[in-house]
């Protein structure tokens, strides 16, 4: 695989807890939401790491903690050799040029009072990289790059459809020429035919600019399509991480197996012949996660050990990591 100096981002033992407060005047801390708990992974230059899991598993928090939009509780986020967690705000702002984000909701993530030219050009001016005239020129280039007519620069976000707005979000994230883009469910608000347009655009841009993506999604078929490697999260843990085809053809963690078997396939004959693993119950609350293995309450193969011992996150075959006592 890729050599270690190709590592763009290294996340080490990242933890993010959110305190739960009670009381109005005398606030008291009564517990924590264990949103992200001790996860480690790398992202290499030019690759796409897919991050999948169900709602509330901590995948968006992971993305935000990497960009320092939410300060991690502990752990390291080493980006191009610099630990972002310890940086001062001014230094962090400089680093932010190189890492950008595309948000899920194309309606809420664009300021309705700014023209799209202003939206796309704003990062350039904020970072002092261009004056008004230069940024206007850059906006034209960016709009063409994402497949929008440059004449639209003076229009407002409400004049565009969801797919077009997501293109605007992509153009904004590209304006500072980043090396990493965190895509937080960039296509889940879009219709199927438009999703494919945006995914194709992301793939083209990746090849053109050697971008690395952290692609957060719950749609496993799209993740299989776009990712180089895939990480599966459950209740704040990464339970499995492997190269794409390895993960989808040889899933080792029982949660990954159940997740894959639950995705409907658009082929009636394949559907008929599938063996489905139906998980019982709901995801437990991240306030009081189960002891031992967090998946044990819904796991079809759980034994007594799972209640006491936290499964080690270990490498089974080259590049294939699993956190399960029985895998491998």
């Amino acid at each position: 695989m890729t050599s270690s100096d190709d590592v763009l981002l290294h996340v080490e033992k990242l933890v993010k807890y959110f305190p739960i407060m009670r009381g109005i005047i005398f606030q008291k801390q009564v517990g924590f939401v264990h949103a992200v708990d001790n996860i480690s992974f790398d992202i290499h230059r030019g690759e796409t790491l897919g991050l999948v899991g169900e709602s509330g598993c901590g995948k968006s928090t992971t993305g935000r903690a990497i960009l320092q939009l939410q300060k991690p509780t502990s752990g390291q986020v080493i980006f191009e050799g610099v630990d972002l967690v310890t940086l001062k705000p001014r230094e962090l702002r400089k680093m932010r040029r190189k890492m950008q984000m595309i948000f899920q909701d194309p309606y809420a993530s664009l300021n309705p009072r700014m023209t799209i030219g202003e939206i796309i050009g704003e990062p350039l001016r904020l970072h002092g990289l261009a004056n008004r005239k230069e940024s206007d020129e850059q906006v034209v280039v960016l709009l063409m790059l994402v497949g929008l007519n440059p004449a639209y620069a003076n229009r407002f976000p409400h004049e565009f459809s969801g797919g077009q707005r997501q293109r605007i979000g992509v153009a904004r994230s590209l304006s500072l020429n980043p090396s990493l883009i965190v895509c937080d469910e960039p296509i889940s608000a879009l219709d199927v035919s438009i999703q494919a347009q945006v995914v194709n655009l992301l793939e083209e841009l990746q090849q053109k600019f050697n971008l690395a993506y952290l692609f957060i999604a719950h749609d496993l078929s799209m993740v299989r399509h776009i990712s180089t490697r895939v990480a599966v999260m459950y209740l704040g843990w990464i339970v499995e991480l492997a190269p794409r085809d390895e993960l989808f053809s040889h899933p080792l963690h029982p949660y990954t197996q159940a997740l894959l078997s639950a995705v409907p396939i658009p082929d009636p004959e394949a559907e008929e012949n599938r063996k489905r693993i139906i998980l019982e119950g709901d995801v437990p609350s991240p306030v009081n996660p189960p002891s031992g293995c967090r998946f044990r309450t819904r796991c079809p193969v759980a034994k007594k050990d799972c209640q006491e011992q936290v499964p080690e996150y270990r490498e089974i075959t080259s590049g294939h990591f699993v956190a399960c006592h029985f895998a491998g």
Binding site: V199, L220, E271
Partner: protein, 329 residues
Amino acid sequence: MTELLKVQDLKTQFLTRDGTVHAVNGVSFNLNPGETLGIVGESGCGKSVSVMSILRLIQSPPGKVVGGKAIFDQKDLMQMSNEEIRQVRGSKISMIFQDPMTSFNPVLTIGRQITEPLEEHMGMSIKEARKHAVEMLKIVGIPNPSDRMNDYPHHFSGGMRQRVMIAMALTCNPQILIADEPTTALDVTIQAQILELVKHLRDTLGMAIIWITHDLGIIAGLADRVAVMYAGYIIEEALVKEFYKNFQHPYSLGLLGSLPRVDLNDRHKLVPIEGLPPVLYEDPSYCPFASRCRFKLERCSIEKPNLLPSSLEHRVACWVDPKTGRERQ
């Protein structure tokens, strides 16, 4: 076979400040007893409005069913009085919705909400209704059903709430269940639970289902027949196996082309449908898909194709045969 529900040329419009929106433009389909019909399409294609029109749930104004019939039990639902249609809703035809949070009354216990149709439609006493409701909750897999009767909707998780909604919809033993994207807001593992439940209930209770979704994967595993909607029209309709093997409309082709498969190991580029869905301020006199179609011929922008049989149990509304790229014979 006698059909259970026969919808003919249904048309629904909305009057808005910007003009009349032609949401449904002449939709016709049949539903046979015990059959599951899947209606697929993207947002704004008129799939929800069609079924809401059948149950006369379109708010008027701004909406209005401007034409068509829906024959159920030898009566036209469109011509019924408000009192008559109330007797059908929730008892002979019932509906489950996408968002299980907003479709319950938040200030009533779920027990109260499930027993209401029983007292209303079946004339049960409160005691009988409660007993029946507990039974229904048990069937849909709610643990400790008699205790949970006194809980409020916010006490339930998304998946559990959808189960309660299914219990409520099925409590009067309806002949038709209309499901409007009931699993879209749920996670895949919970979606799989709900789909299994619905399949099981369908096999034991034998009701017919109209299942609306944008997910062609769900339809493949659940439905007997599929209708694809675009811009307020049904543009293709076929038995499920026939459809996935032999889909013919360029839009169906586009939808399936833009879907990656989770079970296959190919990495072909996705083929999206270019352009955007039309805004329905007018009902065009030509094919509504023409502007986005790869196979467009001259005739497509002049004349509108009708939904005509292309083979047994397969109807398609298109001038072009996408296999040859030439006009259909």
